[in-house]
């Protein structure tokens, strides 16, 4: 069945039908993202002092991704204008660039930004033990300056120290083998005291242990987690340094400065995954849904770019219809850009 009014305007609406459709869809999308943004507001307003993290995301990378989306918004509107001017090769060029920009945005998110977060370790310290970790937290210094306290120690998890029940030794050994963990038993201890870390490099160089693996290790019968040894994030490595008071434009990853945290002092630990905090929960929810929109936009633009029926081949048969299709995907793409214009400051900067 052919949909009427794909080129000409419908007399009563003054619009071709697809345009009416996309605007109704975008209206519903505003409510969808609006709901998530209001969830962000609630979570942030209710967070106790120090529990809303700052400076955990890489600002230059986020700003770069913003620039990529803005550039693609320009190119997609140029692709549409090229079709209106009936310049097919220009259309192919601008649309091709838009598709590449969208793909690049996703690659940066999925191959660089997100995986880094899943490797990053963070431990929230119990309120009664906070004082004990002053050398990593620097709360006296922050109090003097009237800044919110720090409650978390984070960085790159190098090793975990465990005590294992010798009676359950086999289960532990299976786990260590499964996860390619290197164990250094302390022979002098009556209980089986072990330091574990993960082998990742081909050269046998130890790369630390992923927070998720540490969580699973703790669930192995007979295993008791005693302490975490980590390379501290710059903020915990030099907590009294005024440089650490506020987030910086240039993101610096974990240092080699060693830190040790007792498991008994930790209220909660995890990677920078959604469960880490309300901040990361709402960050991954909103950027994840936004990422799905980018993916959808890329696929639809690719469909209109490829020399197929319903795609770029329409140019010969009905160029105005193709222009309208591109205008509609363009409207969707600008909306995706528009959402990111809010996402970038609220998660990366504020």
């Amino acid at each position: 069945m052919q949909i009427p009014h794909e080129v000409t305007a419908r007399p009563d609406t003054g619009l071709y039908n697809a345009k009416l459709g996309i605007w109704l869809f975008l209206a519903s999308e505003v409510m969808l993202f609006g709901g998530l943004f209001s969830a962000y507001i609630f979570l942030r307003m209710g967070a106790e002092d120090g529990y809303w993290p700052h400076g955990l995301l890489n600002v230059p990378v986020g700003a770069g991704n913003t620039a990529i989306l803005i550039a693609s918004s320009v190119t997609v509107v140029l692709a549409w204008a090229s079709l209106k001017m009936r310049k097919f090769s220009q259309y192919k060029l601008w649309m091709g660039i838009s598709i590449l920009c969208g793909a690049l945005f996703l690659i940066v998110k999925l191959a660089y930004e997100w995986p880094q977060k899943f490797e990053h370790f963070g431990a929230f310290i119990k309120k009664d033990a906070i004082e004990h970790y002053e050398k990593y937290l620097g709360n006296h210094h922050l109090k003097e300056k009237g800044l919110p306290p720090r409650v978390e120690i984070s960085g790159h998890l190098h090793e975990v120290e465990i005590a294992a029940d010798p009676a359950e030794k086999e289960k532990l050994e299976v786990f260590l083998k499964q996860h390619d963990l290197e164990a250094k038993p302390d022979e002098h201890d009556a209980k089986l005291q072990i330091v574990c870390s993960e082998k990742k490099d081909k050269d046998g160089k130890r790369e630390g242990i992923r927070p998720g693996v540490a969580e699973d290790l703790e669930k192995v019968p007979g295993v008791k987690l005693i302490a975490f040894e980590l390379g501290l994030d710059p903020i915990n490595a030099a907590p009294d340094n005024p440089e650490s008071d506020k987030p910086h434009f240039l993101y610096k990853g974990p240092t080699e400065t060693p830190g040790k945290i007792e498991r008994k002092d930790v209220e909660f630990y995890s990677s920078f995954a959604p469960k880490h905090s309300s901040y990361f929960a709402v960050y991954f929810t909103i950027t994840g849904l936004h990422g799905l929109h980018v993916l959808a936009g890329v696929l639809i633009m690719l469909y209109f770019w490829l020399p197929i029926e319903g795609g770029a081949n329409m140019f010969k048969r009905n160029p105005e219809h193709l222009a309208n299709r591109v205008e509609v995907v363009g409207l969707f793409w600008h909306f995706v850009d528009l959402v990111w214009i809010f996402v970038f400051p609220i998660f990366y900067l504020l």
Partner: protein
């Protein structure tokens, strides 16, 4: 449907079916500069957003939350340009605007609900999962 008269008709370029805007070269050539200009403005505005986030407005004006307000104002201006120029809302048909008024009304209502948090706060949202 009353629009059925369009069914099956092949519409070819240059026929009476094609709207007057199609192939109107000078009109779109004029807009190309505008699109590039808005793109450039958005890039500069992004840099400004980043820069402003490192300025301590609370210290400057007193109170707190100024950085959030200022960042949202800049973002709204940016979004205004995306909507008006890229999404051609400037000069768009009345019906589209009516959709938007409707949406803005409801989304504003949704955000006003978050203000209730001032009178009836939800605490401990930072660690609700424990």
């Amino acid at each position: 449907m009353s629009q059925a008269h369009d069914h099956g008709k092949e519409i070819t370029p240059g026929t009476a079916h094609e709207p007057a805007t199609g192939g109107d070269h000078p009109h779109f050539d004029m807009h190309l500069g505008l699109y590039l200009g808005v793109g450039g403005f958005l890039l500069v505005a992004t840099a400004v957003t980043v820069w402003l986030s490192y300025v301590d407005f609370d210290k400057m004006f007193g109170g707190h939350g100024w950085n959030i307000i200022i960042a949202m104002i800049v973002a709204t201006v940016k979004v205004g340009f995306v909507g008006a120029i890229f999404m051609h809302l400037k000069g768009e048909k009345k019906l589209v605007w009516q959709f938007l008024y409707f949406t803005l009304f409801f989304v504003a209502g949704l955000f006003l609900l978050t203000l209730l948090n001032y009178s009836d706060p939800i605490f401990g949202t930072s660690h609700a999962h424990h």
